[in-house]
Subunit: 201 residues, 2 copies
Amino acid sequence: MPKLNCIFGVMQSILENIAKHVVLTSEEQALFLSKTETKQFKAKTILLSAGEIATCTYFVNSGILRSFNINDNIIEHVLHFACEGWWIGDMYSYISRKPGNLFIEVLEEAEVVIITKENHQKLYQEIPKLERFFRILAENSLVSHQERLMDNLSITAEERFEKFCSKYPTLIQRVPQKHIASFIGVTPEFFSKMKARLLKK
Amino acid sequence: MPKLNCIFGVMQSILENIAKHVVLTSEEQALFLSKTETKQFKAKTILLSAGEIATCTYFVNSGILRSFNINDNIIEHVLHFACEGWWIGDMYSYISRKPGNLFIEVLEEAEVVIITKENHQKLYQEIPKLERFFRILAENSLVSHQERLMDNLSITAEERFEKFCSKYPTLIQRVPQKHIASFIGVTPEFFSKMKARLLKK
DNA sequence: ATAATTTCTTAACCTAGGTTAAGTGCTCTA
DNA sequence: TAGAGCACTTAACCTAGGTTAAGAAATTAT
């Protein structure tokens, strides 16, 4: 595996991601990178478990992660997928410093940029522009959660599935369909039934 | 109606709200207030309609507003309530500058602090600390939307109602129950049935 | 390759919550 | 103070999606 390429890829990618919303000088870029750590994880690795306090935020350079919770009936619910160029974490636990409800798991071997809460806060002090970046990130995420919330209330599972397909076409091939079912808000059995119904058309 | 008291109340309130997360000098406070406008609205006033571009964000000093959308079947879905000390708006439309899907309506006569997008952006330039404030606001809002999303997938309408009651005890007395039904994600008829069932216990 | 484990499918049956409709209050407004 | 809307309730009936269970297919590990 061409490690150097990967590392290079990562670094570009997270800086590019930031550059979408704020302009950092090259010193600031270097400072930012010095406060991050990049790691490889194999599939099935659990980066965070429910009950733990989330001390890090993750940026995915390659591979796929998911966040999910497990309710009293031992049923998993996928909150989020994150593949190349996406951020993921347990925002509740991260900002409140209380034990969270989310698990974060690697679904497909991944290279992940890790920022600890400590470093994150130092970065806010040293590069105030990052407040703006993470504000915009949170606002965009909020908008997509609002949309998903309304979709769960006002459209059918079939329509949600179609939306998912057009929004995240690559994910369908890459993650087990039971997780997509969960993200959409139906059981794997119903998802399977629904898929068969759609194929007949 | 003691207009001066009201105005004074508003101003305190929004500055107090900001003071929860960032410290402004009194010059900055004055600058902030100079970029806002406070207005009274009667119940049933529509501040924003679906299809329009949201050019303002609202902070509620008194009264109650709600945001909702209307789907193809002419059914309303409440996204949000906002009473004293809450912010409300159509974040999607506001940040994308595209026509939104939300209506914002006054449910109970209200005094509202209005910030236009233009002024908001000037404020970001003149008081960069506000980036931090609105970052934190967006992050908190994100967390509560994530929780609501998971609740809609993993707990029953009855449990959601109980959560609503303990989270927003004052709203139950003040808002027509059909809107609470909608917020929770059930029809008014089912809500009524559920309430009767709960009273028997 | 082969066993072991996941994942996916199918099908019969079940239920939370939706729909329709009719009736009973409210509460504004005239 | 009437009466025109709203807001709420009740009840019969309906359906999207859940549950259970068992087998088939695909992965993964040995």
